[in-house]
């Protein structure tokens, strides 16, 4: 193999020295009779440079390796999260379509019945009334799901307008009144007037409805659900209390997680979307407030408390 050597035959020391000086300028070579001088400083400098270069490369190498690892790690994590989200999305979609099928099923039954049978007027009227309720329910469900989707993507713009809390809370409770009555639940509402806060009304409705739905879902038919709104200092406090299955006290943070649900596999997989409480927390947070859950244990009911900063209404 041909090596590339620069060769200089040593015949003339002077020539040789000047050639050396040319070849290695950093060394500061000087000529002296019978010898070659190298500046000590220069030699040291050169050596330092060489070792510095090695260090630099080593550090750069390490640095870039770390960067690469971090990059890969980040990608893996993102992909993992994406896949998790995808799975949850699929679960969300499945649960969603299941929720929608219920009012559609009763609507279909009623349409078939009205079309196929002649009924006394009173019964016809009852069926039509039920159908109207189902349509409202369907519409409401879709609105809530869209809102949920919006909130999942981000908290959105901050609330700027001031609303009457009792009025908005009442609206939300009223829209659930017939659903609750069907299950023979008793809703006790006690809403203090004159409380105002900066909220988005539709999101507040969603928060209240989700809390009430949650209470209903985990309570036996015929039981009582309490809805209270009170002033506490410069905060408004909303409480939803139920006599249902409660939860283990150590779970009181986890129940607000996305897709967390208590219950058997079948109930978990299809009753609701698993986002109810998660959205309650997101919405409360978006309005500058917070929510807490409390239960004395399974079978001992539950209490959910939402606190919101109040705004003094400018008359």
């Amino acid at each position: 193999m041909a090596h590339h050597w620069a060769e200089k035959h040593i015949s003339d020391p002077e020539e040789f020295t000047s050639w050396l000086a040319e070849t290695l300028p950093d060394l500061e070579i000087a000529e002296a009779p019978g010898s070659v001088r190298v500046r000590e400083e220069a030699r040291r400098r050169l050596r330092r440079l060489a070792s510095r270069r090695v260090r630099m490369f080593a550090m750069e190498g390490a640095f870039f390796s770390l960067l690469l690892l971090a990059g890969i790690g980040f990608m893996v994590w993102t992909l993992h999260r994406e896949r998790e989200l995808e799975l949850h999305q699929a679960g969300f979609l499945a649960a969603t379509s299941h929720e929608l099928k219920t009012p559609i099923t009763s609507l279909r039954l009623y349409v078939d019945t009205l079309a196929g049978r002649s009924l006394p007027d009173e019964q016809r009227a009852k069926l039509l009334e039920n159908m109207a309720e189902d349509l409202v329910r369907l519409d409401d469900l879709i609105e809530r799901l869209l809102l949920a989707q919006e909130m999942l993507r981000g908290r959105g713009s901050p609330a700027t307008e001031v609303f009457d809390l009792a009025e908005e809370t009442r609206k939300a409770a009223d829209s659930l009144a017939s659903t609750l009555a069907l299950g023979r639940y008793t809703l006790e509402a006690d809403l203090e007037e004159g409380l105002h806060a900066r909220i988005h009304p539709e999101r507040w409705h969603l928060l209240v409805k989700n809390l009430l739905e949650n209470a209903r879902k985990y309570s036996p038919p015929g039981s009582r659900i309490e809805l209270r709104l009170r002033r506490e200092g410069n905060h408004a406090r909303l409480e939803v209390r139920d006599e249902g299955s409660g939860f283990p006290p150590e779970e009181r943070e986890r129940i607000f997680q996305r897709f967390y649900r208590i219950g058997s596999e079948d109930t978990r997989r299809s009753r609701g979307t698993g986002l109810g409480l998660y959205l309650v927390r997101e919405i409360a947070g978006a309005f500058g407030g917070r929510v807490r859950a409390h239960s004395d244990g399974p079978g001992k009911g539950a209490l959910f408390t939402v606190e919101l900063p109040l705004v003094d209404r400018i008359a």
């Binding site: 039954l109 078939d112 039920n130 069907l182 036996p220 058997s264 079948d266």
Partner: protein
Amino acid sequence: MAERILIVEDEEHIAHGLKLNLEAEGFMTAIAREGNEAIEAILEDEPDLVLLDVMLPGASGFEVCDRVRAAGSRVPILFLTARTAEDDRVRGLQLGGDDYLTKPFSVREVITRIRAMLRRQRWYLRSPAAGEVVAFGPNRVDFRRYTAETRHGTVTLTQKECMLLKLLIEHEGEVVDRDTILDRVWGYDRYPSPRTIDNLVLRLRRHFEEDPRRPEFLQTVYGVGYRFRGSVD
């Protein structure tokens, strides 16, 4: 006498719609709104058929079916499910349900299915000429209890196994063709795969034959169907 149907459904409007239509068709109805309530109603009141929603508070529909079957109830069960996933449907049938309907369903579909199921149940409950216990070879089959004494000991038979066996025994000596088997034992217009009958026969042979590959009692008539021979020639 009017047949009694138990509607197990927690959604009020659906329960109401079903009740209205079933009563208009001459059935008597009762409603259970929760899993444990349903189990009690089935075991104590012994309805003639159960419409069972899968999504229930308390125990799920699958659990209800599992527990009443374990307790010995053979009441025909028609699952109502919003889930169309194949696994869920198969699971219901494996747990001992007889049929399923996916939501939303039409009134006509419900009524037709119910009538078909009741018809099959009535046929099954009519005792064969020989009585409710049939003996062949070392085997004794109790069609009421769905059990059999065999050379391998006592075995529990599934609903389908009993229905097929009964059908073949009722036609002892004659060939029963596959269409008749499908109609009598499955009865709806969605037929299982062709292998399903074969697998069922294979299971029966494993219980009752000394050598399942050379059956004495449950014979194959190739290209046509199956035949039961009660005594060995």
